[in-house]
């Protein structure tokens, strides 16, 4: 029998199997913590930082990502404080400014409360969430894709930029990429950095990519009012 621990998330007492992450435990109970790089079954790296929560210990709270935090007996977690909401909105704003034409990222940003983007758009098309890389490495052990370089020059690429022959053509990288949702040709233009949030692509995302939902794995998170601002 699996050992269970008891912890408190946003005031609700929940039980979770020892070893699971706070994010998984929360999602299992329908508590929405926005997330992007987390994919069920893959190792969490804490890259996108959207799933930040406050971990309260001895009266002091520390901001950390819930995907890399394992549940512990008596833990007290807050997922939706004013501070967290503000930080999460700022991070979402950074992400959407990198890839303004990705529908999945736009939706995520809108749900995190971003209405206006204060940075000029960059058309990176890749926000380096690492879903493709981790799927390729962990699930298939193909090691065809990887993060190359560092800092601002870091990118996802094949070895030597041309070793496609190592790829097993499983297409998982495409399926798991948040950018592969049909892009929005709408209002995201340089100079008018605004998010209208009118076209939340609910069905589209749930169909295209399991786990790509940036809000809540139940798929109902879109109606959930927890993060609406």
């Amino acid at each position: 029998m699996q050992q269970q621990v008891t912890l408190t998330i946003d005031g609700s007492t929940i039980r979770a199997a020892r070893g699971t992450s706070v994010l998984e435990a929360a999602l299992g109970y329908g508590i929405c913590i926005p997330h992007l790089c987390h994919v069920p079954g893959l190792k969490d790296t804490g890259a996108c930082r959207l799933c930040i929560v406050e971990n309260v210990q001895n009266g002091r709270s520390r901001v950390t990502t819930s995907c890399t935090l394992t549940v512990q007996e008596g833990m007290v977690i807050r997922t939706n404080t004013e501070n967290i909401k503000r930080l999460r909105r700022n991070i979402a704003e950074l992400i959407v400014a990198e890839a303004p034409n990705s529908r999945a990222v736009q939706d995520m940003a809108v749900r995190c409360g971003v209405r206006e983007v204060r940075y000029p758009f960059r058309r990176e098309n890749c926000i380096q969430c690492g879903r493709c890389v981790r799927y390729c490495t962990e699930m298939w052990r193909a090691n065809a894709l990887g993060f190359i370089g560092r800092g601002k020059d870091r990118k996802v690429d094949f070895a030597f930029g041309n070793r496609r022959d190592i790829c097993k053509k499983c297409q998982s990288c495409v399926i798991y990429c948040p950018m592969s949702v049909t892009p929005c040709g709408g209002p995201m233009k340089p100079g008018e950095e605004k998010l209208c949030g009118k076209c939340e692509s609910v069905e589209l995302m749930a169909e295209n990519a399991y786990g790509a939902c940036v809000h809540c794995e139940l798929g109902k998170g879109f109606q959930c009012s927890r993060h609406a601002m």
Partner: protein
């Protein structure tokens, strides 16, 4: 590339993935750069996916994936060198050789690199020409240093041509 040498680098380290960085360092020292061919052999020798070897080679600044020039001019851009004017030195090299940091001139005479700190901060700004550290460099001194190396390089090239003829 001499395969025998590469074997000697790998000797005693085969199937030890933790030796990857040390092996690449030795290859860099031996050949002046890490070639794709060498990376493939290292991947096989240590038992690591090629991707991992390539990633490590790209991540660390110590490794150069292209052959470097005969003269490597390294400008230190640490804080102490920066406030003492290492920017001027970068401009001097840029202007004189028409290359950006990390590039090599077409004739293969010069490679221009920047390093974030060499730990000789008291003597800044520092320029390393091949392995020689030059303290308190000014744009003028640097210009002469490059001129001299260029002249020598040209002389050698001319000598090489006549030698062959």
């Amino acid at each position: 590339m001499a395969t025998a040498n590469l074997d000697s680098v790998l000797e005693g380290r085969r199937s030890q993935p933790s030796q990857l960085i040390e092996v690449l360092q030795d290859i860099q020292d031996l050949y002046g750069y890490v070639s794709e061919d060498a990376m493939e052999q290292v991947a096989g020798g240590l038992g690591i996916p090629l991707m991992e070897v390539y990633r490590v080679a790209c991540f660390y600044k110590a490794f150069s994936l292209q052959p470097r020039g005969k003269n490597v001019i390294t400008v230190c851009t640490g804080t102490a060198c920066h406030v003492r004017g290492s920017d001027l030195l970068i401009d001097q090299v840029r202007g004189q050789l028409q290359i950006e940091p990390g590039e090599t001139t077409r004739d293969g005479l010069f490679t221009f690199e920047c390093v974030n700190c060499l730990g000789a901060c008291a003597l800044g700004p520092i320029v390393v020409h091949n392995d020689a550290y030059n303290p308190h460099v000014t744009p003028g001194k640097l210009r002469k240093m490059i001129d001299k190396a260029e002249e020598e390089g040209k002389k050698e090239a001319a000598y090489g041509k006549t030698g062959k003829a």
